[in-house]
């Protein structure tokens, strides 16, 4: 997207592994990871809601930790392993239990905060397979939702936790 003029000297080459696929791209050092994912790699499932790290819509998994991609520069993610909402489905196209849970329990309305919610909840369930409603609420408290009142989201995460436990047994 950049012209090979004076700009090219500012570009840095980075390699990212996103959803098990490797990408090598040239980016300006100041470009946010959220913009790299969305505008350069065209993975637009990750949303940007505030660009100051409060709303959580841009949450992704970076090296197995939930991270706000609007607070990370692309160059900081060089060599990182990243999972975005596009990577939640299994390879045969089966939805992740959390995706199913959100669908079953009306855990979304406009759907804009949903990818960030899913990534945050994913991290919760990896570390706590049987969370209480209070623990779920606490875990998602850094992700703002303006539509659902959170109740459906808590129901959805509970549903997914149960399904994942049953699957593991």
């Amino acid at each position: 997207m950049m012209e090979k003029t004076a700009e090219s000297s500012r570009l840095k080459t980075i390699t990212l592994k996103v959803n098990h696929k490797e990408y090598t791209v040239d980016v300006e050092p100041r470009m946010l990871l959220s913009d790299v994912l969305r505008d350069v790699l065209r993975l637009t499932g990750t949303h940007v809601g505030c660009e100051h790290g409060v709303c959580g819509a841009c949450t992704i998994m970076m090296d197995e930790r939930p991270v706000r991609s609007c607070l990370v520069f692309g160059v900081q993610a060089d060599q990182a392993e990243i999972v975005t909402v596009e990577g939640l489905e299994s390879e045969n196209g089966e939805l992740h239990p959390l995706q199913k849970g959100f669908w079953e329990k009306h855990g979304l309305q406009c759907g804009f905060c949903t990818p960030g919610m899913l990534m945050t909840a994913c991290h919760l369930l990896e570390h706590n397979p049987d969370p209480s409603r209070e623990e779920i609420r606490e875990a998602i408290s850094g992700n703002l939702c303006r539509c659902t009142g959170y109740q459906g989201i808590v129901d959805a995460v509970e549903y997914a936790a149960k399904e994942m436990r049953e699957r593991a047994e």
Binding site: M1, A6, E7, E28, R30, M31, R38, D39, R42, L43, T44, G45, T46, H47, V48, G49, C50, E51, H52, V54, C55, A57, T84, V85, E86, L88, E89, L95, Q99, F102, W103, E104, H106, L108, Q109, C110, G111, F112, C113, T114, P115, L118, I136, R137, E138, I140, S141, G142, N143, L144, C145, R146, C147, T148, G149, Y150, Q151, G152, I153, V154
Partner: protein, 764 residues
């Protein structure tokens, strides 16, 4: 039957897998990006704008100021409740010689990407002569207040006056008279996705604009008018939309500027508002001061209601005209029968962001005022506040009932309902009868708990009409085109269920098409909880016409009377026995062969709005040391006539409650004395998180279907929001009965409760 079933949403698969297409997700070759330069001052004269240095910046493609726009460009007109008096205070897409709020658009800069546009924006030099600002609606009406629009000659650009009976006379005869001032703070919808647009212009000057929402067809016409183009040469396309709630989708300055820039550049121009910009640029709402007088007898029967309302409009009149203040006024008496009413609303200009609607416009404010006043009357008389409510309700036998006031060009006429019933549900669920003992026990343990109620009447189904077209394709798939739009409320699923019910096929075989002016002939859009009522009824009728046509063909084929047949489970059946007589799969080829068009359209007209109603109840616990509020129980009973999809209705109620809670306790668009917005980021504008929003219990009632539409629906979008603040405020007062705490303004911040508790001594 699909209607009444809690079916999963058709919208969700794409949104859950990252396949949604929000406006910011689109990318076209040669796409460039716009940044709007906004005024840093609340009130100033623009002395000069120098763009030369910025223009030479790497990657900059276009810079626009007011002088680059056509000389005959008109300001953005009102969409609702227009009035010639207000036209002198309308907003132009770019400020010409004067700015009137922090955030007023002054210039546009387009560059190859947003980073470059922001870099260059810093080099645009604008000189301002700063003027004194006014940031308070009451002060703006003082004779020495700075005048915002010299042409208008006054900051009081509008006055709304309503009268029923004779309040002055009536007050003389009332045993008790209470006067109180109440205040609702400025806050707004704050959707998670900020606004955005992407405009493309072909070589042949045809314009396509993505990112439209809410009122696509209206904005289509307006865009054509302002850009001086034929409607046919513009296409507006709705994308997925990250929350509407009232502010999004109105025609804003950017809705002119971005297409205009695309036409000038002949390349795709994108503009995505950033969050800090959103707080300054997108409609605010709600800020009102009420000076109320009520007259009542010793039994709590209220006879006279007088209210003088000061409405803070901000710097310009935007597309809603006087909608919000006129709805406040007309809906202020709510579910009660007051014999004498006199209300005056002053619409005052201030140097703040202009306002428009936000979920429950006018009712959030009026319901807070009225339901607090009811509890104040009860406290004054030492009566049970729920009994005071009961004594004043409009009774079912008085329906249809008009309160003598009007809004949006219609007299308020409540169509049907039993207001006491929802209060009864709430009292029973919350254990009101035994609450005093519970409260006393808690107090012995040093805990302050309280229970508060708030009744409300909502309005929905704003007309005058909505359009639908339903077509069955030869493969049996159905396309339902609607003039409604999807803002996250699930209109796609709702309409699919309605069509499914008529046509006897699964709802997931129905594709709902909306928000594309090339594909959908006409429409009024989604606002004012009109979707299911007006658009749903249109789809119901259009699908019904299609059903009749299919059955006629089948009846001819089978040589049986048409009234013996029905559609069910993808087949034509005998309506009595339900026995399958013909598969739809066999009927469709016959229709195709005979050249029978299986496409029907219907425009549903409605003269009067319909009025759902209900009751909120909150049980709270207060920490007397910190003022912190904890919601122990929250309940909403809501009679909406009929629920198409109860799961979605509950979603609207619970989600609506969370927004109401934000307005009640947390959210405030606060300005300092020089007109700077000091709560313009998520660091200081507090949206309730999962830790603040409690579990909400709902009771969806269908006892009084609307007689005004074939579905009987009354609309579910706003009832979750409007009564949260008074329910919680009344609960706080109930928890602190022996302290005379004046809970008269929002938000109900803990520090205010704590301060009040420190200053007040128990009355006893």
């Amino acid at each position: 039957m699909s209607i009444g079933a809690s079916l999963k949403r058709l919208e969700d698969y794409n949104l859950l897998t990252g396949r949604g297409q929000y406006v910011g997700d689109l990318q076209f070759p040669d796409q460039c990006e716009a940044v709007i330069i906004r005024s840093p001052h609340a009130h100033a004269i623009i002395r000069s704008i120098d763009v030369e240095e910025a223009r030479r910046f790497d990657g900059v493609l276009l810079i626009l100021t007011a002088s680059d726009l056509p000389g005959d460009l008109r300001p953005i007109p009102m969409r609702l409740s227009p009035d010639p008096i207000l036209e002198k205070a309308l907003q132009y897409p770019l400020a010409k010689d004067r700015v009137r709020y922090v955030g007023d658009p002054v210039a546009v800069i387009v560059a190859k990407d947003r980073y470059m546009a922001e870099d260059a924006a810093d080099f645009i030099k604008i000189e301002y002569d700063v003027l004194p600002p006014v940031t308070d609606a009451v002060q703006s009406l003082q004779p020495d207040a700075p005048l915002l629009h010299p042409d208008a000659g006054t900051n009081e650009v509008y006055l709304i006056y309503s009268k029923k009976g004779d309040v002055a006379e009536r007050l003389k005869t009332c045993e008790h008279v209470l006067k109180e001032e109440l205040y609702v703070q400025r806050h707004s919808g704050i959707p998670m996705e900020t606004r955005g647009l992407l405009a493309l212009c072909d070589e042949d000057e045809r314009l396509t604009v993505y990112g439209a929402a809410k009122v696509v067809h209206f904005n289509h016409q307006l865009m054509a008018r302002l850009l001086n183009k034929n409607k046919e040469d513009i296409r507006l396309v709705e994308t997925d939309c990250g929350g509407g709630f009232g502010p999004r989708g109105e025609f804003y300055p950017e809705d002119y500027l971005i297409p205009f820039a695309a036409m000038r550049l002949k390349r795709p121009v994108r503009w995505i508002e950033d969050r800090l910009e959103h707080f300054k640029a997108t409609n605010h709402s709600r800020e009102q001061t009420h000076q109320v007088t009520v007259g009542f007898d010793g039994d709590g029967r209220i006879y006279a209601l007088r209210d003088e309302i000061f409405f803070d409009q901000g710097g310009y009149i935007r597309t809603h005209g006087t909608t919000v203040p006129s709805l406040t006024q007309a809906m202020l008496p709510g579910p009660y029968d007051f014999s004498d009413i006199e209300i005056v609303t002053h619409l005052a200009l201030t140097n703040k962001t202009p306002v428009g609607t936000y979920r429950g416009p006018g009712r959030f404010e009026g319901t807070f005022v009225r339901e607090r006043v009811i509890d104040m009357v009860a406290a004054h008389l030492k009566l049970d506040p729920t009994v005071v409510r009961e004594r004043n309700y409009i009774r079912p036998e008085q329906m249809p009932y008009t309160n003598g006031l009007s809004a949006l060009g219609q007299i308020v006429e409540f169509d049907s309902g039993n207001y006491a019933e929802t209060l009864d549900w709430a009292r029973k669920f919350m254990g009101w009868d035994s609450f005093p003992e519970k409260q006393a026990r808690a107090r012995q343990e040093g805990r302050f708990i309280g229970l508060g109620f708030a009744s409300f009447v909502e309005k929905s189904g704003f007309g005058p009409w909505e359009f639908a077209e339903v077509e069955m394709r030869p493969d049996g798939r159905v396309i339902c085109k609607t003039g409604l739009t999807e803002v996250g409320q699930g209109i796609t699923t709702t309409l699919a269920q309605i069509c499914s019910d008529q046509l006897g096929i699964p709802y997931d075989r129905i594709s709902v098409v909306h928000g594309d002016t090339d594909l959908v002939e006409k429409g009024n859009g989604s606002f004012a909880t009109r979707g299911a009522v007006v658009g749903g009824s249109a789809a119901w009728h259009a699908a019904g016409l299609l059903k009749e046509k299919l059955l006629e063909v089948a009846a001819g084929e089978l040589a049986v009377p048409v009234d013996m047949l029905a559609l069910k489970d993808g087949s034509v059946v005998y309506s009595e026995a339900g026995q399958v007589v013909m598969l739809l799969d066999d009927l469709l080829p016959i229709c195709l062969e005979r050249g029978i068009s299986l496409c029907e359209e219907y425009t549903f007209h409605i003269d009067h709005m319909t009025y759902p109603y209900g009751c909120h109840a909150a049980e709270v616990e207060l920490d007397p040391d910190t003022g912190a509020l904890h919601i122990l129980n929250y309940y909403i009973a809501y009679d909406i006539g009929r629920a198409i999809n109860p799961m979605l209705v509950e979603g609207q109620l619970v989600g609506g409650m969370a927004q109401g809670l934000g307005g009640a306790i947390y959210e405030e668009l606060k300005y300092d004395e020089i007109g700077q917005l000091v709560s313009g980021s998520f660091m200081d504008y507090l949206i309730p998180t999962s830790m603040e929003v409690p579990e909400v219990q709902t009771e969806i009632l269908e006892n009084y279907p609307s007689p005004l539409n074939p579905l009987g629906v009354k609309g579910a979008g706003e009832g979750g929001t409007v009564a949260v603040a008074p329910a919680i405020a009344n609960a706080i007062v109930n928890a602190l009965q022996e302290y005379a705490i004046p809970i008269t303004s929002l938000p109900l911040r803990p520090e205010r409760i704590r301060e009040a508790l420190k200053q007040m001594k128990p009355e006893r």
